[in-house]
C-alpha cells in the first residue's frame, strides 16, 4: 500500500476473524480501526470533516479549528491539521487518559479541559460557548456534521461489504453515532436484513453528574432508526472482553472494543440472528492509549474496573 501522504493512508483496515471467541454456529470478525494512522477510527472522520470544510471554503490557511472530543477525534484532527498549518484547540473532559493529552501536546494542539462530571456533554457545551465568542474559529462539530456519518457510509461500510459480502450483522460502539449511522445505513441499503447493534458504554456515577436532564445530549448525526438494538456495557464487562481478546485471539484493543465484542457475543442467539451468521464488530482503537489507566495491569479485575469506571473510554 503506497500513500502520497498520511491522509491517504486512512482506512482500508484489516477485517480479522475471531475463530476462538466466535460462539458455535456464528463467525465473528473484528475490523481493526486501530490500524489507521493515528490509531483510531476517528482518522476517517477527521479527514472527512476537514476536507469537506476546505471544499466549502469554511477553512482557509491559518484558520483555527476548535472541536469537543473525548480524545480520539482530537488526535486524528491534529494529524490532519498539523501539516496543513491549521491551528487546533480541543475541548476535552478532564477524565480522559494521559496518553490522549500527551499526543495532542505532541501535535501542538491546545487543550481546554471541561469538567469530568459533565462527560462528553460538558466538552460539547464548553466548545459551543468558545466558538460562539470567536468568529475566527471553525468548529467541525463531529456530533452534528453530516461528514461524520458520511465517512463511514463511503468508506467503512463499503470496505466491510467488499471484504465480507455475506455479512449479517454489524456491532459498533455508540459515541457520536457516526459509525453506526453511516456504516449501518450502507449495509442496510445493501441488504435490509442486516442487523445493526449499538454497544453503549456505561460509566460510574461521576460521568452522569448532570444537574438536570436538559443537559442530556443526543448527537444530531445519530439516526436511531438504523439500530435493531442498543445494549449498555459497563467497564467490568468491557475490560473482561478486552482481555479475552488478547488471550484468545492475540488482539490488543482498546476498552470500547471489549464493549462491542461483549454485545456481539450477546446477540449471537437464534432469537436475534440465525445460526450461520457473520457478525462484524468494529474495533475503534488499539489498547495503547489506555495503558496508563491500568486497564491492562495485573491485579484484581473488579478493582481495576472500579478505578476505570469514571475514565472515559469511548
Amino acid at each position: 500500500m503506497l500513500a502520497g501522504d498520511i491522509s491517504q493512508a486512512v482506512g482500508d483496515t484489516p477485517l480479522v476473524g475471531l475463530p476462538s471467541l466466535s460462539p458455535p454456529g456464528y463467525a465473528l470478525y473484528l475490523k481493526l480501526e486501530g490500524h489507521n494512522p493515528t490509531g483510531s477510527v476517528k482518522d476517517r472522520v477527521a479527514k472527512y470533516l476537514i476536507e469537506s470544510a476546505e471544499r466549502d471554503g469554511r477553512l482557509t490557511p491559518g484558520s483555527r479549528v476548535l472541536e469537543p472530543t473525548s480524545g480520539n477525534t482530537g488526535i486524528a484532527l491534529a494529524a490532519i491539521c498539523a501539516p496543513k498549518g491549521y491551528k487546533l484547540t480541543c475541548v476535552m473532559p478532564r477524565n480522559t487518559s494521559e496518553e490522549r493529552r500527551a499526543l495532542l501536546a505532541l501535535y501542538g494542539a491546545d487543550i481546554v479541559f471541561s469538567p469530568a462530571s459533565e462527560g462528553s456533554n460538558g466538552a460539547v457545551r464548553v466548545a459551543t460557548e468558545l466558538a460562539a465568542d470567536d468568529p475566527d474559529v471553525y468548529m467541525p462539530f463531529q456530533y452534528g456534521n453530516p461528514a461524520n456519518p458520511q465517512a463511514h457510509y463511503e468508506t467503512t461500510g463499503p470496505e466491510i461489504l467488499r471484504d465480507l459480502p455475506t455479512v449479517n450483522a454489524l456491532v459498533a460502539g455508540l459515541g457520536t453515532g457516526g459509525t453506526l449511522t453511516g456504516a449501518g445505513r450502507r449495509l442496510k441499503e445493501h441488504d435490509p436484513a442486516i442487523k445493526v447493534f449499538a454497544a453503549e458504554p456505561e460509566y460510574g456515577d461521576l460521568v452522569y453528574g448532570l444537574r438536570n436532564l436538559d443537559e442530556g445530549f443526543v448527537p444530531p448525526v445519530f439516526d436511531e432508526r438504523v439500530l435493531d438494538g442498543r445494549i449498555k456495557i459497563d467497564s467490568r464487562k468491557a475490560l473482561g472482553a478486552t482481555r479475552d481478546l488478547v488471550a484468545a485471539e492475540g488482539v490488543f484493543a482498546g476498552v470500547s472494543t471489549g464493549a462491542a465484542l461483549a454485545v456481539a457475543l450477546r446477540v449471537c442467539t437464534p432469537r436475534r440472528l440465525p445460526e450461520g451468521s457473520n457478525v462484524v464488530v468494529v474495533s475503534p482503537d488499539g489498547g495503547w492509549k489506555y495503558l496508563s489507566t491500568g486497564a491492562y495491569a495485573a491485579g484484581d479485575l473488579e478493582e481495576i474496573a472500579a478505578r476505570l469506571q469514571d475514565t472515559l473510554w469511548a
Binding site: T73, N212, L227
Partner: protein
Amino acid sequence: MAIEVRVPTVLRKHTGGERKVTGSGATLRELVDDLETRNAGLRGALVGDDGSLHRFINVYVNDEDVRYLGGINTPLDDGDSVSILPAVAGG
C-alpha cells in the same frame, strides 16, 4: 414480584437520595406507575403525558434500551433489572 431499578444521580431527588429502588409491574409502564406511588415526580421525569420516554432519558431492561424492545410497554419478569441513565455522548 420485585424488580430492581437503578436511578442516576440527577433523579435521586425523587427517591430520597437512593441509588436503587424496587417496584413491581408486568410492564415498564406498570413499574413506573408503581414507583411513582413511593417516589413522587419520577414518572414525570421519565415519560411525557403521551406515555413516551423523554428524549434525554434512556431506560434499559437487562442492559437493553427499551426503545428497541417494547418501549413503555416492554414486558417485565421477576428478577429483571432496570436502569435509568441520562443520554450522554462520546467521541
